[in-house]
Symmetry: C2
Subunit: 343 residues, 2 copies
Amino acid sequence: MQAKNVTIRDVARRAGVSVATASRALNGHQLVNALTRERVLAATKELAFSPSPAARRLSLGRTLSIGVVVSFLTRPQAAERLRGVDAILTDSEFDLVIHNVETVQKRDQLLTLARSRRADGLLVMSLPPSGEAVDALQGSPIPVVFIDVHSPAIRTMPRVVGDDVAGAALAARHLLDLGHRSIAFIGDAAENPFGFTSSRDRQHGLVDELAGAGVSIPPEWVGLGAHGRYEARDLARQMLGGAHRPTAIFAASDTQALGVIAAAHMCGLRVPEDLSVIGYDDIEAADYVGLSTVRQHLFESGRAGAEVLLGEIERRSEPAAVVRLGPELVVRATTAPPKEGRG
Amino acid sequence: MQAKNVTIRDVARRAGVSVATASRALNGHQLVNALTRERVLAATKELAFSPSPAARRLSLGRTLSIGVVVSFLTRPQAAERLRGVDAILTDSEFDLVIHNVETVQKRDQLLTLARSRRADGLLVMSLPPSGEAVDALQGSPIPVVFIDVHSPAIRTMPRVVGDDVAGAALAARHLLDLGHRSIAFIGDAAENPFGFTSSRDRQHGLVDELAGAGVSIPPEWVGLGAHGRYEARDLARQMLGGAHRPTAIFAASDTQALGVIAAAHMCGLRVPEDLSVIGYDDIEAADYVGLSTVRQHLFESGRAGAEVLLGEIERRSEPAAVVRLGPELVVRATTAPPKEGRG
DNA sequence: TAGGATGATGGAACCGGTTACATGAAACCG
DNA sequence: CGGTTTCATGTAACCGGTTCCATCATCCTA
């Protein structure tokens, strides 16, 4: 048999005060006599009272929780960002409620979250909202902050973004400095159901930086396909099969870069002697494999997003806060100067 | 200016019924006239009403959310399990509130979660509770289900576990079948702040299976240290440095197996020609690297845990449900027969 | 010493749902 | 046709906090 839940009225009775005073004492209100506060706290301890969150939420008119909409929770980037969010929220009064999105239908369903009163704020990770969703979010009663969403549709809303163009430029500069001139790109198909744009931005960053050095990429050295290791491997295999081969490949993600490395092995090419490979993201496996890459500050992006959101909940800011996190080149063992006589 | 929140009373007025009827209609109660229900639903749509979760929770006396205590969210195993949990909860009425634990203090703080009324059920992942915590959880007013916790202290509580002993035996059998007789083990130090036991269980599984075949492991071929890739690498380097070397190494986790492979390379040994390596977990990187390993059904363990928990919330079962998930051998490219003349 | 400022406290409304109980109408029965 | 079911609905209490407003005791000041 469960003892009946102890409520603030029990505490008040025990302490010999009214519920109003008990509530004030518990919430550290100013106008409470120090002695009275003591008595209330003592009663609280004796009765092992802990206030009902549901009741607090209702009477405060706040949910005391923030919703995180995360696409593909299992991608290492997502987990790391989430950890950053947790680091901030754990010291706040807010609960962290997560909504994993792996299908397009679910995305739209979830973005209506903002309309309902299920959270005091929403954090959307790596998920470009659909057209209608943008409208819904614009007029949302609760603040919404995006992390790693690059859609122009949200340009008026607060967000935390890495600079994919600059990051790709970093990779391009690295390859150029090593002496490469025959450089290929492997990335995501322009059309994808979620509207992810980071691959495209990285491609632009690469192309622009190369163009600045007078290097251009022939169309046959641009391989676009579904995001995935094996898809990237197959694309790379085509490029590497013929006689006219690039000396370096920039992949739009580490996952794809790992596919490129597999393709190189299948074609009998050594990395980095015969082919340099550089990726993007710095996922855990990149370290294992010794993959050169561009690092995003994932944990930090989660932290920053959560901080911006808490700020917005406190007081909506105008104009929308935008935090830009700089990318960082990580040189490991898959990039080297091209062999002589080529490039 | 935000319009005042629309409540069920507004809906009731609009539909020309009482709030009780409106509530019943919205919750699919039996005793409501079909026509009346129509009117209520129409009013709901017209006013864009969505019920306040806080109010529902309070009046239902349920939090409609379940708490997940997860240790080391960023480990790929954790994220994959969480995805399984989400798959179940997303179709339920429960919110998924996560609590990441990466420090010992935080663990104890969080296990008191069960005492407060912040969730209708608790899922604890890969985190052996401390002694006091066990007591707290035993008498918890809400059900608690463990996933991947092997502490004997929780033997009376519902849980989902993989069989680490059987999994390790699988790996051992594989190495024996290939012809290996000189087999080493690399795992976690017996003493660790969280009390994780899986490494120890895997060691037992290995030792027992080998013993059955008349093979024993000399003490110098058992390397225990802090969990991590680099720590494992250093331990392996010591073993592989001398003339008396094992022909195969079983690592208690893929992370550590990857360290072993790095050590082999540093010692000029080829894998699998000179040294077979097998890990445990089948993390994402294992596939990249072609690591032979033992797979746990991570997603499934999350699913199962959530299902058991929902069942317990519905109706506490006696005795506690225990779900055992069988491990599975995954043979890739890091295991092969030992070279002739050795082993 | 009257009058106002200040501090501490209590009573009761309120947040927005759910539901026990009461009520009334219609259907059914012998 | 009176009485009992059955169905549909309304009234109001309730969940457990927070907080507005009123009250009252002190203390300060002119």
